[in-house]
């Protein structure tokens, strides 16, 4: 069964450094998402991406964050200058269609655990 993959599984970085988290969504999916989960807290939406542009973003997704689909398979999340509070599990998700075209399941990757020291 196809699945979303994410690399690396763990990333440790120093405050102020840039990190790039990588995701390979399921191949025929068109909508892509990033979520994060701070330890012990709920899963929170960051950004959605469709047709090579951001379609929606949350308040968390400030100027320090950016997303890119550099080729036909990868989807990346970049944090320009990491802060201690960016430490969290970051999940990538994808879906075939948007809810506007019917209720859609999102498929989540296993996550990247980011630790900012």
């Amino acid at each position: 069964e196809p699945e979303v993959t994410q690399t690396p599984s763990h990333q440790v970085t120093q405050m102020g450094q840039e990190v790039i988290l990588h995701c390979v969504p399921i191949s025929n999916h068109l909508y892509f998402y990033w979520y994060r989960q701070i330890l012990g807290q709920k899963v929170e939406f960051l950004v959605s991406f469709y047709n090579n542009e951001i379609s929606e973003k949350s308040e968390i997704f400030d100027d320090q964050f950016s997303v890119e689909r550099p080729d036909g398979s990868n989807f990346t999340l970049k944090i320009r200058s990491t802060k201690l509070e960016d430490s969290a599990m970051y999940f990538c998700a994808s879906s075939v269609n948007s809810p506007g075209q019917g209720a859609e399941t999102q498929y989540f990757g296993p996550g990247t655990r980011l630790l900012v020291l």
């Binding site: 909508y31 807290q41 709920k42 929170e44 959605s48 599990m89 948007s98 209720a103 859609e104 990757g109």
Partner: protein, 112 residues
């Protein structure tokens, strides 16, 4: 603002019993609601989706109900097994592009 609450942070039950988890929402009229399972250190895994015009949905030992008047969904696992131990998340679609708003989850522990 839109809010989703899963009233119990943790639920402990004996193997073979039925687990019932509750999800309440406010300031929202969702067209559908989803339930996910999350194991420690893993991403959420989709379980069931129920639409606003459906009162109940079943899949094997799982059953979901959706009461739009009460603004509540109940998630049942019948004949529970230790392998059902996990955190169960309720989710609603928060935006036009499908971003999900999750509840904090209920951690279910099924004891043998």
């Amino acid at each position: 603002s839109q809010k989703i609450e899963q009233n119990s942070e943790a639920l402990n039950i004996q193997e073979g019993k039925t687990a019932t988890l509750t999800c309440n929402y406010t300031n929202y009229s969702p067209a559908y609601l989803q339930w996910y399972r999350q194991d420690p250190g893993r991403g959420p895994v989709f379980l069931l989706l129920i639409r606003e015009n459906e009162k109940e949905k079943r899949k094997e030992r799982l059953k979901v109900t959706f009461d739009t008047t009460l603004k509540q969904s109940l998630f049942h696992i019948t004949a529970s097994q230790p392998a059902d131990s996990a955190t169960y998340l309720c989710a609603l679609v928060g935006g036009s592009q499908g971003n999900l708003i999750f509840g904090k989850g209920t951690k279910l522990s099924v004891k043998p």
